[in-house]
Symmetry: C2
Subunit: 104 residues, 2 copies
DNA sequence: CCAATGTATGCCGATATCGGAATGTGTCAA
DNA sequence: TTGACACATTCCGATATCGGCATACATTGG
């Protein structure tokens, strides 16, 4: 239930930094709700804050997202390698016994 | 609280498919716990199952991870562009008024 | 200093999630 | 068919999280 809200916030901050009130208006939720989610995102390091008078401007910190990027990319590569390996094995089998090629 | 467990499971499945019992032993948790997490991961589409006799072999499905990869990559690019823009502006300022370059 | 604005925090009830224990379902082996 | 094995599902209590509301804190303007 929380994840979608947080993604909304991150998406809203993707292109520009925004104040808490702006975010609350964009997401059509109460201000305290936004503040709480921002607190979590801050603690996890996904967003950074900057004081601007009585407002607080939030922006995303791309470094943790880069880690997520790398993390997801690891699996992607691993399974691409695996699929490539399967292809190799199938190709070898086809060479060794052409009659069995393509069988289930 | 759930996320770390699920990441553990995904990491355990990163290189090879495993049975529920194997996962339970690797993570030092009870079998029902593993089954429940696997159910969630299945519903979200992060893992796939294959029946092998009385065992069920799980493996990761890299396609959703590819989406995560793309999602995180979006932010990465956005902010790299932003930093590049800042660099450009600074460079232009340095050209227009060399005396001000490097000031706070 | 005071009032207004912008934000954060504390408390609340509702809901979701976790892990544990017991139980249900399906498959193999004898 | 029966018992053993592998796994899934259900029920339970404890804990976490969400959103709403009221309120506290901080900054600005007068």
């Amino acid at each position: 239930m929380a994840e979608p809200r947080r993604r909304e916030i991150l998406d809203a901050l993707a292109h520009q930094e925004r104040s808490v009130g702006e975010l609350a208006e964009l997401l059509h939720v109460a201000q305290p709700v936004v503040s709480k989610h921002l607190k979590v995102l801050r603690e996890v390091g996904l967003v950074e804050v900057r004081d601007d008078g009585r407002r607080r401007l939030y922006r995303v910190d791309s470094r943790p997202l880069r880690e997520i990027h790398a993390w997801a990319g690891r699996y992607e590569r691993l399974w691409e390698e695996r699929f490539a390996l399967v292809d190799e094995v199938l190709a070898e089998l086809a060479l060794e016994s052409p009659d069995d090629a393509g069988r289930q």
